[in-house]
Chain length 343, copies 2
Amino acid sequence: MDDQKIKNMEEFAAVSGLSRPTISKFFNDPSSVRKTTRRRIEEALERFDYRPNMYAINQNRRLTKNIGIVVPYLADPFFAEIARVIETLVLEAGFRPVLLGSHGDPEQEIDNLENLRLIKPAGVLLAPLGRLSDADRIAAFCEEVPTVLFDSSIDGVGEAFVGLDSFQGIGLIVDYLCRTGEPPAFFEMEKPTNPNAYKRRSAYLAAMDELGHTPQLIQAPGEGWEFEEIGFREGSRIIRDGNLTTDTILCSNDRLAIGFLSAAYQAGKKVGIGAGCALRVAGHDDHPFSRYTCPTLTTVAQDYSAIATKSAETLFGVIEAGTRLDSREVTFFDGKLIMRGSA
Amino acid sequence: MDDQKIKNMEEFAAVSGLSRPTISKFFNDPSSVRKTTRRRIEEALERFDYRPNMYAINQNRRLTKNIGIVVPYLADPFFAEIARVIETLVLEAGFRPVLLGSHGDPEQEIDNLENLRLIKPAGVLLAPLGRLSDADRIAAFCEEVPTVLFDSSIDGVGEAFVGLDSFQGIGLIVDYLCRTGEPPAFFEMEKPTNPNAYKRRSAYLAAMDELGHTPQLIQAPGEGWEFEEIGFREGSRIIRDGNLTTDTILCSNDRLAIGFLSAAYQAGKKVGIGAGCALRVAGHDDHPFSRYTCPTLTTVAQDYSAIATKSAETLFGVIEAGTRLDSREVTFFDGKLIMRGSA
DNA sequence: AACAAAACTTTACACGCGTAAAAGAAATTG
DNA sequence: CAATTTCTTTTACGCGTGTAAAGTTTTGTT
């Protein structure tokens, strides 16, 4: 590697013995130049350390190769994991992923979108905060930038939505719990941030109804994203008060369940299916940690990879077509029952 | 808000009745224009939706207002959390945070730095992968871009390093464990990815030596970032084989401990300090989940906020000074003993 | 009111690359 | 080998902003 510093494409064209427009063509699509030319450029690239100035490139393009990925909360391993998978797919497709977390804050979510607008992304993959989201402004953003929503939907917003079929997933686990023991009560947040939570509640009610059982809702007060804390606090209270009519708790998501399990443990209530167990607890999502809880958590698995792949490919399709979709495309994936120790 | 689309600064200057250079000055520093002028611009900003083109802005600047934040693994809540804190600080200081995770992959880490170089960041906050990192290339990057390392150090690389004092922290917990029960064995990975792990091992050996106890190392085979899995697998093996000479296990980090706790639970060994407990387990880091494990995990807390603040402010200092530090600045923070149920 | 200082306007050039048009060179074809 | 096609070069302009220099207006001070 020569030490000579290459300042710009002009200089790089000079040292590789070609003209600047040819170099430009090469960087936009290496296969668009003659094979021999391509080799000459690649050889020069090995000798000299040059990469086109990203700002100059994108100044002229109407849109860039950037793809925004926005999730509600990066410190939640569930979103961190799905973001990781999406990021990989975006890279493989030759785009530049730009990952942003909203920290559970609707203003931050809008800021993220505003900041994305500044870098003129080719498209955006957005998991909205949910109930708290500023739906109008998100909708306005989606008018400007092709956007695919995932995990949590906003009616009519975005080119497409990819998520989980709550009715199927909750149905599955309610059915399982009823077959193997007492019908479950449903443990959730009083004011869930996530619209999926509402769907899950409805799904629970419907499933119980269908099986001829009386539903029981346990609604924990509390705001924010400290789900484990809320699950723990309310779980402790429930166990202490002891006015449950069932020994089986289905939690709206795994993080609540993790908090609940902790509460049960501290209260000395054994959770599980064997003899001597006082409670059964199940969750929903197959959170990365749910296989290490005590006991391990029975839950409904979201297929991270399927959701990520479908979202990303839908977006790539829209970007390549260069036109918006005729109608909003909605995809629901089935959840999978993961039987572990807790129920 | 008028609907008229503002294309560029020229047009915005026109509608606000000022010249373009004045507008440019305003966007670079609102306080650099007369108060009345500033108000005029701000009023215009409320009427028209204009924001300068980021690519055009940065094309001329030798460096931008971007600050890169690179962590080894975003799906690890520990790093997600510290990244979140740093991100907030960077924003408050008027910079644009660019968050990148290396997915535990040294190539990805280098890619991240390469990509950062393209956006000419004012500085970078980097938590290296550790043992696997391509130290030479990271060093080369740090020559070009002011970089502050945190969490895990690379000798002589970067303007500064901010981390935890392993000897103090491990000393603290070893001391506590020895005072309150049997001296601990040290549970770690055979080939840790993180150099902190080596320091922690040395610190353990030193602390045990000082207290006149015989150290015992338990080294789990396994690679990668699935620490819980490794902790679980090796923990199960240890418990099954039963050739421990102590009932107390100090884990090199909380994630290993989480796996170990799960193994103990499944083996029917009660962990804790009370009567009827077969094992004591302690960790290190105060991982966000360690307060919800069963039992809750006794550990050494890293002061996330202190590490984040010190790293960020050191970097801001270097950026503002415009010159590199005379000598590499190294800061270690003390860990804090967090006594919970497990030991 | 006079004056200096501060702020603004005008003008002009720079940044690094995309891209179009026309002309020239090289590769491919029959 | 000539004709044709494909690729490359030359030339030139545009993108939206930073920024410097020189001239003009406004502001604040005495």
